[in-house]
Symmetry: C2
Subunit: 277 residues, 2 copies
């Protein structure tokens, strides 16, 4: 595996590479990321993974500084997973003028769900993904369904700006108790970790009710929030939405997704579950 | 010359084409455009020209509907100029949902100079050029210096978003009396056409003064505006700026550009002249 830190060197490598599948990450890799890499290997002859903790998508008071940086163990995992190139630029390489002047501005969905609690987050994601796509020029890029709204924003952006990349979604990796794999799980105390799997159980409960024909989304959302709050969570949202557009769902909608974000102590966790009726 | 109207067909052609130079236009082609095409032919083995009157970059009350569409004569000129592909999408092809959801948002320069008089114009330009670059995937793209602020915005965007395209600027084509070639010259009455060359003469006068060491930009700008207004123009701006950044110029600045926009009757004309001291 080559570790490439400069855009110029990556472009030089790219010129002679064949079809490329790309997995952008912020590092601190877990089995969820490795499932993305495995899918990428199925999609193309060369796989590029990037590790870049993107300041632009963190808000004030969020965990940019605390975000875990584990380069050596990430490297070993990617090497073992058969990755061809690890792109590992520093901030000066991606933001040489410190500020980013041109931004890719997503539509109103950027202010809903997680966007309502993380202003500017999806603009930062859309902009850095655009930059990385322009640098890596992949044929395919793999994104996890765990960040469902992010996946939606990126698919819509690729479509709307005619980017020459195919986006491949990959199912969420989960611990045995159902907790979605996330770098932020590492922030949890043992007691919080044991409580954390409730988020998935609550979403699964809504799924069961929806499959049984319940279409009173508001009551299901409210009951789920109440259960989480009774167990010490601070809930940002629990929402039933249309799976394909992330628009508000109306009764009878056949393809749904239930999304949630909630905080345990200082850790913000997100999860979601698709429900196709 | 192939005329291609669909994105899918253009992408299919692109896969087997070698290096591509691209000239995006709004049609109604004149010698200025053909100089861009000639430069494009020097830059790469294949040349793609697009014709698309981009609604997104016209403001309310501007000349989107009146903008001259002259497809047949444009085709003949491009064929004669040795163009390989004319990309001629309709609005449904580039804006299938009518509205554009994701926009490329330029920094503050989009609100200055022409941007102050055409709100949203440079956002519309940046967004459609991003779309066209993603569709055509050119190695090189040629833009005229006549639209100096547009050239600046596009170069800055390509740099800031790491787009894999080299931007090649091409000198402004001019009529014998100095008037910059522009599709909008066709709106001028004979009397206006004869007056129109004053814009270039006024800019040339500022250039002469700057080269002679005059650094009182404000007085030069004011005198130029006054002269134009005395001859029936309504002046949007005459400004001396830094050539490379388009920021406000301070006395002693070695690389300058003088830019102007002014209206003769219902026609808005722009021009500029570089001054390297």
């Amino acid at each position: 595996m080559q570790v490439i830190r400069s855009i110029a060197e990556l472009r030089a490598w790219r010129r002679s590479a064949g079809p490329v599948a790309f997995v952008p990450t912020m590092g601190n890799l877990h089995e969820g990321h490795l499932a993305l890499v495995a899918e990428a290997r199925r999609q193309a002859t060369s796989v590029v993974v990037s590790i870049f903790v993107n300041r632009l998508q963190f808000g004030q008071g969020e965990d940019f500084d605390a975000y875990p940086r584990t380069f050596d163990s990430d490297c070993a995992k990617l090497e073992a997973a058969g990755v061809d190139v690890l792109f590992f630029p520093d901030e000066r390489e991606l933001y040489p003028r410190v500020r980013q002047d041109f931004n890719v501005e997503p539509p109103h969905i950027q202010d809903e769900l997680c966007g309502a609690f993380r202003p500017g987050h999806f603009r930062g994601v859309a902009t850095v993904v655009t930059k990385l796509f322009n640098i890596v020029q992949p044929d395919v890029a793999c994104f996890g369904k765990k960040d469902y709204q992010q996946l939606h924003v990126i698919r819509a952006m690729v479509d709307d700006l005619n980017m020459p990349v195919t986006i491949v979604p990959v199912d969420t990796g989960r611990a045995e108790d159902g907790l979605a794999l996330s770098s932020r799980n590492g922030y949890l105390s043992p007691a919080e970790r044991s409580e954390a799997s409730r988020l998935y159980r609550v979403l699964s409960g809504i799924r069961t009710a929806l499959l049984a024909g319940d279409s009173d989304y508001a009551s299901l959302e409210k009951a789920a929030s109440r259960e989480l709050e009774q167990h010490g969570w601070r809930v940002d949202y629990v929402e039933v939405r249309q799976a394909d557009t992330l628009e508000v769902a109306h009764a009878g909608e056949p393809r749904l997704v239930v999304l949630a974000a909630a905080r345990l102590g200082r850790t913000r966790l997100i999860d979601n579950i698709e429900v196709y009726r």
